[in-house]
Every structure is written in C-alpha cells, then in structure tokens.
C-alpha cells in the first residue's frame, strides 16, 4: 500500500477516534445523545441472543439475526465494539474503493482523491461513529463489485448473496449483474435463441451460488426464529408504509390517504417510477456495473416510499467510482453538491419545527420532499449525461 494512502487513512482513523471519544463523553454528560437509537436496538437484540432468546424480542429490531450475532461483543466485552466494527468497515470500504478505482483505470493519485470523498464525507463519518450499520453493507456491496470487476465470480456471488441477506435493497442489482453476465443480444438471431443465450454458464453459476447463500442463511434463521424472522427482516421492509415524516416525496400523500380506500392502489402506483427506471437503467448501463448500481441505488432511494438520511449512504459509497469518470467541471460539480445540501436543509428545517416545536409544517415538509426529489433527479440527470463510459475513456488515452 502506498505511503500517501496510509497518511490519508491515518487521518481518517484519527477523525473517527476523536468522534468516538466525543460520542462517549456526550452520551454520558449531555441530554442530547451522540449514539443513534438504532445502535441501542442492535445491542438490545444482541443481549437477547446472548441470553438464548430471539433478537426479535426487541421491538423495532428489523434486521437479520446475523447483525445481532456480529454485535454480541457489545454485550460480552464492551458497548463500543460495534462502533469499532462499523468504523473498521467504513475504512475498509475506502480501501475497496481504491482497488476498484485503480482497476477501472484511474491513476493512483486521482484514486486517492476520490477515496477522500468517502473517507472525509461528514455523513459517512457521522453514520459509522454514531453506530449505524450501513458501512457493513458498503463493504459487502463494494467487495461484490470488486470481485465481479476482477472476474472472481464465485466470490462475487457469495458476497452478493450475503449482501441481499443483510439488507434487501441490493437485490435490484441482480438484473444488471445478470445482464452483464449474459452475452450481448444479436439481431441476426431470433428472440428464442437470444433468450437461450442469456442462460450461459456464468449466469447460472452466479445465480446458483448467490441464491444458495441467501436461501441457506434464511433457512437457518427461519428454523431458529420462525415466521418472526421473515416478517421483521423482509416482509416489514417490503410492505412498509411509514406515515411519519421522512425524506420520501410520497410521505404526505401516504399520510393523508392512509385510511382512504385508494391507499392500496396509490402504494402500487408509487412502485411504478422505481420499476420503470430500474428496468431501463439495467438495460442501458449493464456494461458498466458500478455505474449501473449507483444509478439503481440513487433511483431506489429517491423514489422510495420511506427515506431517511442513512439511506443516502447506500449510493454515496458508489459515488467515488462514478465521479472518477464524470466530465462535469469543478464548478458545476460543487454547484450540484451544494444544491443537494440545500435540498436537505430545506426539508430539515420545517421537519425540526414540526417535531420539536409543534408547528404545523406538514405542507412545507411535503413541498420540501418534492423539491428534494426534483433536485436528486436533476443531479442524477447531470451525472448520466456527463458520464464517460470506459471505452470512451480508453479511446481518448489511445
């Protein structure tokens, strides 16, 4: 590993250590806690596991039992072990990003800069030091992509199966991965021949391995914790309709129509933009998996029925891979970044006044949520139109 990357990582470690210490101090001395509520949920679930009980005894624990198992040191050793694990994953993600960037043709010096986008992103640092598990998923998704890019398909399939087990959202990557593993359709052949060509050895092997990892883990946990496991870790997320305020453009509509007879139809309508965009982007960008996964996640999060700021990390971990191939100027890039933050600030201020001051700002939060969707779409549109695929890049260097 080169020395400069070491310096970068050391600085990142230092910042995180300082924040972990501030977190411990703040939790003990101030009323406003640093540690996220979810971290206590994980720890409580781990406590139930160490007592031989189901982690789902902890209400609002809606994750795989694997997470609670991983965090048992929180109960057995020290309550900070989990945070160290998340911070470790957060740093490991940066290393994976560096490898991926170099593999995709970035120079080592620019790869370091793009890694910095992840390492010194306040959201990344905040989320992992406050005890959210998102960095764990970042590691799994990035390592699946690294294995796919370096043609280690079995490891990729194992990791992909595990990621989908940990959180359901990477399941949408299955389509672009499958498309990238199948040969390009040729116009000379018929539809059936083209379809048959799709099911080649690579694809079947990938599907078999990742499917068995996913199924095996689910069978194990189903036999241990029964229906509750499926309900809490999967069905809840699939059928979730949170009417409390969140970043989703649909939140207010779902709240005011919650008891309406059309509410079921509206919920289905909300799936439509996601579905269309995921399908078309899978087809359009199948040759560049990291970019396709980025678009997938950004679309999924922006158009989702529930969206909180932790979800942003799902696509931010892929952003450095995309930024490295953007032809946006610095000024325009920074402008878009600023716009993204302004969009969040516009949502956060009425949300604060609603929640903590009791002002009726529902309509403002709704408008801010819609504006945030427009901003996200504009940014995504700009990224798509200014993205230079690999072959274009190669031609230029030739």
């Amino acid at each position: 590993m080169d020395a400069r990357l070491c310096v970068l990582l050391s600085a990142a470690v230092l910042i995180r250590c300082v924040l972990l210490c501030i977190g411990v101090y703040q939790d003990q001395n101030l009323q406003l806690k640093y540690t996220d509520v979810d971290y206590h949920v994980f720890t409580d679930a781990s406590r139930f596991i160490t007592q031989g009980q189901s982690p789902y005894e902890r209400s609002t624990y809606r994750y795989t039992p694997l997470l609670a198992l991983l965090l048992t040191p929180n109960v057995l050793l020290s309550a900070h072990c989990g945070k160290l694990l998340f911070v470790g994953c957060d740093l490991l993600s940066a290393l994976l990003l560096f490898r991926l960037l170099v593999l995709r043709g970035s120079s080592r010096s620019s790869a370091r800069v793009y890694c910095g986008l992840w390492l010194f992103n306040p959201l990344t640092i905040g989320v992992s030091t406050r005890g959210n598990a998102e960095s764990l998923l970042a590691v799994l998704v990035l390592s699946s992509l690294l294995c796919l890019e370096s043609r280690r398909r079995t490891s990729a399939a194992l990791l992909f199966g595990l990621s989908v087990h940990m959180k359901i959202y990477p399941v949408t990557y299955a389509l672009p991965i499958a498309l990238s593993l199948t040969g390009a359709p040729s116009r000379g052949r018929g539809l059936i021949q083209n379809l048959l060509r799709c099911f080649n050895r690579d694809l079947l092997q990938f599907a078999a391995v990742s499917g068995s990892v996913f199924l095996a883990l689910n069978l194990i946990f189903y036999s241990m914790y029964g229906w509750e496991f499926l309900q809490e870790s999967y069905l809840f997320h699939l059928t979730r309709r949170d009417i409390r305020h969140n970043f989703s453009p649909y939140f207010y509509m779902l709240y005011v129509t919650a008891e309406h007879r059309w509410s079921g139809v509206l919920s289905l309508v909300c799936f439509l933009p996601q579905l269309l965009l995921l399908l078309l982007s899978s087809l359009a960008f199948r040759s560049d998996l990291p970019f396709c996964c980025f678009i997938h996640t950004a679309v999924f999060v922006s158009f989702n029925k529930v969206c909180t700021s932790q979800y942003f990390l799902w696509y931010l971990c892929l952003l450095p891979l995309v930024v490295s191939r953007l032809t946006l100027g610095w000024r325009r890039g920074l402008g878009l970044l600023l716009l993204w933050f302004v969009g969040q600030a516009l949502w956060l201020s009425p949300a604060y006044y609603l929640e903590f001051e009791g002002w009726n700002t529902f309509a403002l939060i709704w408008i801010a949520g819609l504006l945030f969707l427009l901003i996200n779409s504009l940014i995504l549109g700009q990224i798509i139109s200014h993205y230079r695929p690999a072959d274009a890049q190669l031609k230029k260097t030739d």
């Binding site: 206590h40 949920v41 409580d44 902890r58 209400s59 609002t60 949170d242 009417i243 409390r244 453009p249 649909y250 207010y252 509509m253 709240y255 005011v256 129509t257 919650a258 008891e259 309406h260 509206l266 309508v269 909300c270 933009p273 269309l276 965009l277 078309l280 982007s281 087809l283 359009a284 960008f285 040759s287 678009i295 679309v299 922006s302 158009f303 006044y353 609603l354 929640e355 903590f356 001051e357 009791g358 002002w359 009726n360 700002t361 529902f362 309509a363 709704w366 819609l370 969707l373 427009l374 996200n376 779409s377 504009l378 995504l380 549109g381 798509i384 139109s385 993205y387 695929p389």
Partner: protein
Amino acid sequence: MVRVYLLAIILCFINHVDSKEDCFPPEWLKSVSLSVKISKAGFHRDLQYTVEWSDTDHDVQALLLQKMPSGVYLDEYQLETLRRDTGLEVLLDSKVDLEAPEYLSSGFTALVFLSGAREAVVPVHGRYHRPSDSSERVRVDLERPRLLLRSDQCPGVRGVVVDAPCTVSNHSICSWMEILDLEGDAGLSLELPVGDSSMIFSVCVVTVLTTVLSCVYLLRNIWRHGSF
C-alpha cells in the same frame, strides 16, 4: 411475562383496615400535594411530576398511576436508559407500540414510582393522528394521575386501598393508599399538529405529477445516454 401478569392483576377495592398505628393521619394527609406539568413542545414532551408532603418520622413511598391515552406513548427502552442514567422508575402495564398512529393504538397505564425522590420527569411522545379538515392541531387530554402512598413501617393501610407492585422491579404486590381530594390543577393536555385532509386531492395530484415529471426526465436521460 411475570411482569405483565403481576401488573394485570392490579385490583382496586375499597377496604377499611383497623390499624393500631396510623402512619398517615388525616392532618398529615392535608400536607400532601401533587403537581403535574408538561414541558417542551412538539412531539417529544416531558411530564414533570412533583409530590410534596410535610416531614414525618417514617419513610413514605409514592406511586403515580398515569393513564395514557392512545394519542401518546412512552418508549420502554428510553425509560430503561433513563433508569440507568437518572434513576427514573417507570413501569408500563402493557406492551406499547412505538410506531403506530393514534387511530391504531390503545391507551395504557404508566406507573411512576417516587421512592426517595419526590420528583420525576417522564418523556412522553406524541403519535401521528388522523388528518383533519377543520383543525391544524389535535388536543390530547391526559387525566390527572392517581397518587398512591405506602410506608414499609406500616403494613396496614386505611382508606381507599389499591393493590399495585411494591417497587419498580415488580416482584411483589403491596397495598397502597390512594390519596383522594388532592388540591391542584385538573387534567393536562397537549396539542399535536395534524395533516390537512382537505388537501388530499391536491396533495395526490401534485405528488404524482412531480414524480412522473422526475421519472420522465430521468428515463429520457437514460434513453439518450445509455447503450442498448
């Protein structure tokens, strides 16, 4: 399970016990007062209870039974943290859903123990309510809590006797004396903002139009720049 079971058998009955020593003589009872306040605003409030009585030569333990309507909830996990951090002692008589809206929830009772301390600050959270077409806010009324007293030195209790857990650990049931005719403020209430159901049509139309617009813009971009 034991906890819920013990709580479920809280029985209330009136009972006159002749005790030789009266721990709570009528003149002393007059000194007992209870004040309840709600502080903070929005969906996260604090209920501040203060119980006062004049000095007496035996220990006095107080218990408040606070009925909570379906419009608010207490978070048992937050209460557990507070118990560790500040010594707050609160028990809930049933499992409380932390996420459901008001119209899908039921009320419950919180038991606030004041052993030693005569003050308690209990965090209470508002639930989302059904949207309304006439009012921007909805009022959630809280009944005045019932105040119960007991003393370890006087097992026999006079007056209105209520059976309730002895301490927050909820291992045994004690007879508590309910203090009636307390002076002080009546019930409390808090107001929570609610959505506007008269906007239902415009909300749906504008939301769907905005998402369709964003979706079409992105589809067009993907179509133009993707390789098919």
